[in-house]
């Protein structure tokens, strides 16, 4: 008997306990979808004819050398466990993964390609992944990338895995680069009467040689709130806050518990009502106004990472959103909402992606969602 079979439920879900069992589970099932913490239901809900591989049995930090700024962990490891281990050494994941408190795993975060507000400072999940081991359709472990902070050997399939929704293989093990966490932070909160006004302030910030940690724009019924976070050494922070306030022409300082709560809530998508859908839309600040014209006021909107990504929440179905994104030449990824159709709006790179799929999963074993 294969090790994973004992824990299988009605041929729909299996929970491999180790790498061998994971390989066997992939090999022995026709169509599979890996699920980590299930925090992104549109990407991990079971559907007909697909075996869900629960990754909770493949959890744990395998290697962590604080002096190297690197760690390797099993894909099913909850991000919060990693974050806690890093915090002991004053380090963190600079791409600021979302849904951590809700139970997001490393594998799920990579497969969905999600980064949080703090990605503004040093980059997103794609910029911090160093290497992966993934299971191919025949149940073998394939390694790409490495465990050191710099590496240019071979095709960079670890980056390919970012945002792939598991469609090229099941992630088993992932290595990341980490950074020292700057010890002090402060956030400036500034109300703007109009979107235009808020965007002008945002452009003043992004054009200045300021090392800002996060810039988020929260749309309200009337106008918008701009949230700007700074991180650094405590001695320098008061001067730096004053400087950002000069660039902004105002802003009230939020610090301590209130500040933590503000950003925790952003990472948790706590602003989204129960039952609503959540769509991620890659952007540039210059395209926000047109997008606003298409989705406001029906959607709730937050523009994060200096206007590089829009988080849009909708109460009703996504047909109209799909059409609107298509018309605007934008792409969207459904995070919360009905499963089965993760990509909406425009997609590009299809001819290249198709060839990669043909190489890595010719029989279509790995479903996207």
């Amino acid at each position: 008997m294969e090790p994973h079979e004992a824990t299988m439920t009605a041929d729909v879900i299996c929970r491999p306990a180790d790498l061998d069992a994971l390989c066997a589970a992939v090999r022995d099932h026709e169509r599979v979808l890996a699920r980590g913490g299930g925090t992104k239901p549109a990407l991990s809900a079971p559907h007909a004819g697909v075996t869900i591989i629960e990754m909770s049995g493949l959890s744990g930090l395998l290697e962590y050398e604080p002096g190297e700024f690197t760690f390797t962990a099993l894909a099913g490891t909850p991000v919060r466990e990693v974050a806690a281990a890093l915090a002991i050494h004053g380090q963190y994941l600079p791409f600021d993964p979302p849904l951590v408190a809700q139970g997001a795993t490393l594998g799920g975060t990579v497969a969905a390609g999600l980064s949080g507000p703090g990605r503004y400072r040093y980059g997103g999940v794609r910029d911090f992944i160093l290497g992966v081991r993934f299971v191919n359709p025949t149940g073998e472990l394939v390694r790409s990338g490495g465990k050191v902070v710099k590496n240019a050997a071979g095709f960079d399939m670890s980056k390919l895995m970012v945002g792939s929704l598991g469609s090229f293989g099941v992630l088993a093990e992932i290595s990341f680069k980490v950074f020292p966490r700057l010890p002090a932070t402060a956030t400036l909160r500034q109300q703007h009467p109009t979107l235009e006004d808020a965007l002008e302030a945002l452009y003043r910030l992004t054009a200045a040689p300021l090392d800002l940690d996060a810039i988020d724009l929260v749309m309200e019924d009337e106008g918008a709130v701009l949230l700007t976070r700074l991180a650094g050494l405590p001695d320098a922070l008061p001067d730096r806050i004053a400087r950002v306030r000069t660039v902004l022409g105002g802003g009230e300082t939020v610090e301590g518990e209130a500040e933590l709560a503000l950003w925790d809530s952003a990472r948790a998508f706590a602003w989204i009502p129960e039952g609503w859908s959540l769509v991620k839309v890659p952007l540039t600040p210059g395209r926000i106004a047109a997008l606003e014209a298409g989705v406001a006021p029906a959607a709730l909107r937050r523009y994060s990472a200096g206007g590089q990504v829009g988080w849009l929440a909708f109460a009703d179905d996504l047909m109209a959103v799909d059409a609107m994104l298509n018309a605007a030449g934008l792409s969207g990824l459904v995070i919360f909402g009905p499963p089965g159709r993760p990509h909406i709006g425009r997609r590009n790179g299809e001819p290249f992606a198709r060839r990669l799929k043909q190489a890595l999963d010719p029989a279509g074993k790995f479903v996207e969602a």
Binding site: A152, G154, F155, M157, K159, P209, L233, G286, H343, A359
Partner: protein
């Protein structure tokens, strides 16, 4: 393969002055910065438009002719080495800035533009392109992208891959694709990340969207001299342990210091066994606060001399010595190989000690210049090319260093790529299953294996280029290019 037919087709697309066929015209394209290898292509085309590149690739695809795209030919791994009887597509004239949008902090460029020209184009807006390989005055964005070039600031800012947002490319069968876009975020698999660093095996980038960053307003550059390489290595570990994230940390050993001093009079302490350069960059107030911490670490690090660059001129002089170190070594020995292995930072001391012993065993001098913050070694192996086994010994030593890097948990290449130079070593770093997966990807994208055939993967017999001794590249002698 009917050679006449494909060349005739190219002649219908390219005027005679941009379709080179004569031996004298082809000679400058025979090698790149891996000067020990040399091959003559059947023809060179010099496209001036993206369409001309696409048409050339389509001709090659129809006739099964292998092609190599070339920028400035600065690859140290032989990445732009021509293929015998194949086509060389020289992209230097495809060097336009298509669009610069300072508000969105992006620039769209053609692949033949030099790395430094991107920063020059953005400079008046206070922006710059962060990846800074030492070859940046001449090396092109297309080549940087194909080999995921690095530089001295990778630990903090990443490599080329981390700064490419979108790519319009022609695949080896002539199909044109758009990957990524203008945003730093993406919905779907990171196809841009997959294309970058593929060493030309996935086709040719025609137009590249790059991310620009505001130029740091403040630098603090510290030069520390040590009586031993090990103490300098330990200092790097102490800086890291202090919680600082410098923009760059570079080490040079005695031989490299000597060479750099001979070449550019950088003013380095000449009695040092090792020099460590640490540079902080960023917002003024933050950098000044970090600098206080850094100086405390450096003063306690066992350095016998610590200098701080007092102005921009002094800072640039410090960097000039470092960045010219490779070509400077050419003054000690015109023939040398540049190694690019990576080890975990904590194993640097062990690796350097081992390299020293190997160097003695092979009877070859090795100068060390490296990105200490990344664990990215650059042993420069000097060899007597006039001796019959000179080059073979150098390759043997280089190979042992690569094996050492693999053994210590690192990589055979940090930023130069596999190219032709290290293709025998890729299967030592990756298992047969890993290699098969990469092979399958290659074949799905390029079933005829015409795009940069003979690079990255071992065993493409018809692309074998027997190493011959040649000495430095003519451009290097002229001081136009340097090897990194």
């Amino acid at each position: 393969m009917n050679e006449t037919a494909w060349i005739t087709e190219l002649a219908a697309i390219y005027p005679a002055d941009r379709l080179l066929l004569q031996p004298a015209q082809l000679a400058p394209y025979e090698s790149d910065a891996l000067t020990a290898y040399r091959t003559r292509p059947a023809a060179v085309v010099i496209p001036e438009t993206q369409d001309e590149v696409i048409e050339a690739v389509r001709v090659c695809a129809r006739h099964g002719v292998p092609f190599v795209a070339r920028g400035s030919g600065t690859s140290l791994s032989g990445g732009s080495l021509p293929i015998k009887d194949g086509l060389m597509i020289a992209l230097n004239r495809l060097n336009r800035v298509v669009r610069l949008d300072p508000r969105e902090r992006i620039v769209v460029v053609e692949p033949g533009i030099a790395n430094l020209d991107v920063s020059k184009a953005a400079a008046s807006h206070g922006l710059y392109f962060a990846p800074d390989p030492s070859s940046q005055p001449v090396s092109t964005i297309g080549g940087n992208l194909a080999f995921n070039a690095g530089g001295a600031h990778c630990l903090k800012y990443g490599m080329t891959s981390n700064h490419v947002l979108g790519i319009k490319a022609v695949l080896p069968d002539g199909e044109v694709v758009q990957l990524g876009g203008e945003s730093m975020e993406n919905a779907g698999a990171d196809l841009v990340g997959m294309f970058v660093g593929s060493e030309g095996l996935f086709g040719i980038a025609l137009e590249v969207t790059l991310r620009l960053m505001p130029k740091p307003e403040k630098y603090r550059t510290v030069l520390a001299a040590y009586h031993s390489l090990e103490t300098a290595g330990n200092a790097v570990a102490q800086v890291i342990a202090s919680g600082l994230l410098p923009g760059a940390m570079e080490i040079m050993d005695r031989l490299a210091i000597k060479a750099a001093e001979m070449a550019v009079n950088a003013g380095y302490p000449q009695d040092a066994a090792a020099l460590l350069i640490v540079e902080l960059d960023g917002e003024t107030q933050q950098v000044e606060a970090e600098f206080i911490h850094l100086m405390a670490v450096m003063e306690a690090s066992g350095a016998y001399e610590v200098r701080v660059a007092q102005d921009e001129a002094e800072r640039l002089r410090i960097w000039k010595g470092r960045k010219s170190a490779f070509s400077a070594v050419g003054r000690l020995s015109p023939d040398y190989l540049v190694n690019d292995g990576v080890v975990p930072r904590g194993r640097l001391g062990e690796a350097l000690g081992e390299i020293e012993r190997m160097s003695a065993r092979y009877g070859l001098q090795v100068a060390n210049v490296f990105h200490a913050g990344d664990g990215n070694l650059h042993p420069l192996i000097m060899y007597p090319a006039h001796e019959p086994d000179g080059f073979a010994r150098a390759e043997g030593l280089a190979g042992e260093i690569l094996d050492l890097c693999i053994r210590l948990g690192g990589s055979i290449t940090g930023e130069h790529g596999v190219g032709v130079e290290k293709r025998a070593y890729l299967p030592r770093m990756f298992s047969e299953t890993d290699m098969t997966a990469m092979r399958q990807v290659r074949l799905a994208i390029d079933p005829q294996e015409i795009a940069n055939r003979g690079k990255m993967f071992p065993g493409d017999a018809d692309a074998e280029a027997a190493p011959v001794h040649t000495g430095p590249h003519p451009l290097e002698v002229a001081g136009v290019i340097s090897r990194e």
